[in-house]
Amino acid sequence: MTELDAIDKRLLDEFQRGFPLAARPYAAIAEELGIEEDNVIDRLRALHDCGAVSRIGAIVAPQRTGWSTLAAMAVPPERLSAVANLVSEYPAVNHNYEREHRLNLWFVVTGPDEKFVEDILENIQSRTDIAVLDLPMIEAYQLDLGFPLQWN
């Protein structure tokens, strides 16, 4: 990835929450940063294209608009890539990571309701013949609120 300049860093850091709710939000940001609206849009597009920005969007409280769960599987190492790819192909899977544990594949499944999500877990279990652990949230003490980046 190319070097980020000071403006890029501010774009990444200062607008993780409270994004302007105005007809021209990028113009509002531009004014704050002392640059042009076009420049803000171009920079965000570049940051998006290089992967630093996933999107400008909403983090929705789990279980408020549908259902989601964290699922885990203990996949034999020689099958991990294949099983991970199978899991990633479900549109309802939005995060999918290998982690350092006997339970080595962890993913989040989200859908309109609990049955939809359960059906996907069952589907994955039957296609892979590996047990899928279902760990839905019971209570949230902290949701993703973004955090200040350190650039050192």
């Binding site: 969007g57 929705v60 409280a61 192909e89 990571y97 309109p112 839905p136």
Partner: protein
């Protein structure tokens, strides 16, 4: 609280991200067959009701050098799990803190926290500090650093989401 069908459509309309064009809310309104003002009002309302916990730039930490990402889990006695969870959630650099069910015998842990850092040793050091401050020294604990990322993108809640797998970029 049940969300209105319109609120659900609105959340679905922005789940791929706000358009990168001068008047993005007008574009979203056009897709939904409503007015820009209605989109702005509803987004403000959903934030006020904490359905939307945050609205803004969602960064990919790995791409920014945050390569040491740990999921830390503890087995905390049920009567004190809420108090402990709130305590941990208040600490800086804990991005998520949830209670989830234990699944004995394979999974004995009920409190989950995510900690992102640039350096593995620094993250481990912070986990020790958090454990001490939250009085969890005696609690069973595991630290699950992420290795490979197979997929990361926004959640899809729209009812139109298909159950069947399909090929799409990670």
């Amino acid at each position: 609280m049940e969300l209105s069908p319109f609120d659900k459509q609105l959340l679905a309309a922005i789940e791929d991200g706000l358009p990168l064009e001068p008047m993005p809310y007008a574009r979203v309104a056009e897709r939904l067959g409503t007015t820009e003002q209605e989109v702005l009002d509803r987004l403000a309302g959903l934030q006020a009701k904490h359905v939307i916990r945050r609205f803004g730039v969602i960064v990919r930490h790995r791409e920014l050098g945050y390569t040491a990402n740990a999921m830390v889990v503890w087995d905390v006695p049920t009567p004190i799990v809420r108090k402990t969870g709130r305590c941990i959630a208040d600490m800086p650099d804990v991005t998520l803190c949830y209670r989830r069910p234990r699944r004995p015998p394979v999974w004995p842990y009920n409190l989950f926290a995510m900690i992102h850092g640039r350096d593995r040793d620094a993250v481990l050091h912070r986990i020790d500090r958090i454990t001490k401050l939250a009085n969890l020294n005696g609690a069973p604990r595991a630290v699950l650093f992420s290795r490979r990322r197979f997929k990361q993108r926004g959640a899809r809640y729209s009812p139109a989401t298909r159950i069947e797998p399909q090929r799409e970029p990670a």
